[in-house]
């Protein structure tokens, strides 16, 4: 089996496992969906309750209910949210883009800023900026992300009101297409910087350690000995190997990034899946919360597969023979 097919098969297996877990969680939750619906309606006749139970398959054995649940999910039916008064799937699809935008832009900020900081402090371990980087990493790691968000919110709501602190768009909206995009980006600044703040620390520590390792290796000495300037040594030769642990970490931490998004979206009223998770947990809206669990698992899975692909591209030892053989390093000059 080709590796990608194998990877996909294993991913689908894991997703089915997530669905089974979801089903078990529904079973364990106090009260069944019908009781919740009846509660929302403010009471119903015995007859209606019995009809709803039959409709939901609650009068059948558990294993049949599991089969029903799985077959419903396959057709995209994740149930109906009585709190939000719409099908769960459409609710999630509405909120998904905002979360992907937030998570991906935070990840980009964290990787770029973190790696640059790590490279710098690996190059000049005694420099003033290196101490700053060390302190910044510690702060980013130790401060709770929701608190960082609230501190930025205080700062930018009352002291420097240059960034909006709530929501994703202006209330009045924007006339032009460009204006709308800029408006969203303007709202994106604080949430994405907040979410990135935790991971900047991780990536700067990681890339510092791995660059220190790489910069001490023989091939870097060779590159220096043949008279390459420092920028080429770092960005042309060292970075590629130095980035490998960073890429691994991106894949491993994607799930945590989503967890951070729940907190950051709640702080900044960002209309994504994270805030939806928070809202539906408060209302005990189980169909919605479990569907979010499922969709976030898909997101993490996709991120992991993308990481694996990136991994193969960066590290020729893993990419197998698929990469074109690169030119001999000496001949490039």
């Amino acid at each position: 089996m080709p590796p990608l097919v194998k990877r996909l098969a294993s991913a689908i297996g894991l997703l089915v496992a997530v669905l089974v877990l979801n089903f078990l969680l529904i079973q364990m939750a106090p009260g069944d969906p019908v009781e919740v619906i009846v509660g929302e309606m403010g009471g119903a006749s015995e007859e209606l309750i019995a009809r709803l139970r039959a409709e939901y398959g609650l009068d059948k054995p558990v294993i049949v209910q599991l089969g029903l649940y799985l077959s419903k999910v396959v057709t995209g039916d994740f149930g109906y949210s009585y709190y939000f008064n719409q099908p769960v799937l459409s609710l999630i699809l509405q909120r998904l883009p905002a979360t992907i935008l937030l998570v991906v832009s935070s990840l980009m900020i964290a990787v770029v800023v973190g790696t640059l900081m790590g490279i710098y402090s690996a190059r000049k371990p005694k420099g003033l900026l290196s101490h700053f980087v060390t302190i910044f990493s510690l702060v980013g790691y130790a401060a709770p992300v929701f608190w960082t968000g609230l501190m930025l919110l205080i700062l930018f709501a009352s002291v420097f009101p240059i960034f909006p602190v709530s929501g994703m768009q202006n209330v009045r909206g924007s006339e032009t297409w460009i204006g709308a995009v800029l408006d969203v980006l303007h709202h994106l600044v604080l949430p994405s910087v907040t979410l990135a703040s935790i991971y900047i620390a991780t990536y700067s520590r990681l890339s510092r350690a791995s660059m220190l390792d790489v910069l001490g290796s023989d091939y870097i000495r060779t590159a220096r000995a043949k008279g390459l300037n420092e920028r080429r040594v770092i960005f042309g030769h060292a970075l590629r190997n130095g980035l490998i642990p960073v890429v691994t970490m991106v894949g491993l931490q994607f799930g945590q990034l989503f967890a951070g998004a729940v907190l950051v979206e709640t702080v900044f009223n960002w209309p994504g899946l994270g805030r939806l998770a928070y809202e539906s947990i408060l209302r005990r809206d189980y169909p919605t919360i479990l569907a979010i669990l499922f969709f976030s698992a898909i997101l993490v899975m996709v991120a992991n597969i993308l990481t694996d692909l990136a991994y193969g591209r960066i590290d020729p030892r893993i990419g197998g023979g698929r990469r074109k053989p690169s030119k001999p390093k000496g001949a490039a000059q």
Binding site: L14, L138, Y141, L150, V300
Partner: protein, 299 residues
């Protein structure tokens, strides 16, 4: 960290002496030379002292009203101000630290125990056991931990015990991966083979022969797990998913969040407490790591 290197040169003669010191002593010496680790230790002592001895010196009920709501720090009745219900912030922070630290430590213990169990079995036996256990680990890694813990707490009710178990039950995969890697490395070493040839059973090999050698990196991971669990607990209580009847740092921030522009101290100060605690734990953890790892010590 420049100070550590200069301090080391003065202490160097011992290291080059004919007899190497006892490993534990060597470890303590290396740890004591590390300035940031000592700062971490002092901060940790302050945090623990404040939360556990604080009520003796500052005897104010954290749940009762002492003044008007939103009195700024430095008021007549409350040195750190009051919250949205006029409760004493200092008393709240002292009281809230206990729940936060207890949940953090207990959840970390749970996650480290599960992680070591799964990781050691996977790394020791390899083969299909490894494959199966790693599938389980992967399964837990694709689910966002916070979300899963939120669901568990909603279903089983928000008490300190359920929150602790929920946090512990979702945070073990990293420890498991670390333990597995260590076990895979160590099980191939000669002394393990020797013990096996001498007829030691699997359980003995796992817990008495390999585990002690695998412990140092796991101890560091356990320290970091405490910090992570504290942040985790704070996040859950901030969202209002903590035990509503127990004061905790996250809960104070969450409850006062809507008034943060009028009363900055109500959300800022408990956050500073969380920050200092996690910072102290991570500084001490780094110090232990550096002291255990002679290769890093020389850097």
């Amino acid at each position: 960290m420049t100070e550590t290197t200069s301090a080391r040169t003065t202490a160097a003669p011992e290291a080059t002496g004919p007899k190497p010191a006892h490993p534990a002593l060597e470890f303590l010496r290396a740890f004591a030379r590390n300035q940031s680790a000592i700062i971490g230790l002092i901060l940790l002592a302050i945090v623990l002292g404040t939360t556990f001895l604080g009520p003796v010196f500052y005897d104010v009920d954290p749940y009762s009203m002492v003044d008007m709501p939103f009195v700024a720090p430095g008021g007549d009745y409350a040195p750190l101000g009051t919250d949205y219900l006029g409760r004493d912030m200092l008393a709240g922070i002292i009281e809230g630290g206990r729940a936060t630290l207890a949940v953090g430590a207990a959840a970390a213990v749970i996650s480290v125990v599960i992680g070591i169990l799964i990781g050691s079995l996977a790394g020791y036996f390899g083969g299909w056991i490894d494959a199966a256990l790693m599938k389980v680990t992967e399964f837990f890694q694709i689910l966002p931990t916070l979300l899963l813990a939120m669901v568990l707490v909603t279903i089983f009710g928000a008490t300190l015990v359920t929150i602790t178990i929920a946090i512990g039950a979702v945070s073990w995969p990293q420890v498991a991966r670390l333990a597995r890697a260590e076990f895979m490395k160590i099980r191939k070493l000669d002394y393990v083979q020797a013990a096996r040839t001498a007829g030691a059973r699997d359980a003995y090999l796992i817990f008495r022969v390999i585990l002690p050698a695998a412990l140092p990196p796991l101890v560091v991971a356990a320290g970091l797990a405490v910090g992570a669990a504290i942040l985790f607990e704070a996040g859950m209580s901030f969202l209002g998913l903590g035990d509503p009847n127990t004061m905790s740092w996250g809960l104070i921030i969450g409850q006062n969040r809507n008034y943060l522009l009028d009363a900055w101290w109500t959300v800022t100060l408990p956050g500073v407490a969380i920050f200092i605690t996690v910072l102290a734990i991570s500084l001490v953890g780094d110090g232990i790591n550096d002291a255990l790892n002679p290769k890093l010590r020389r850097r």
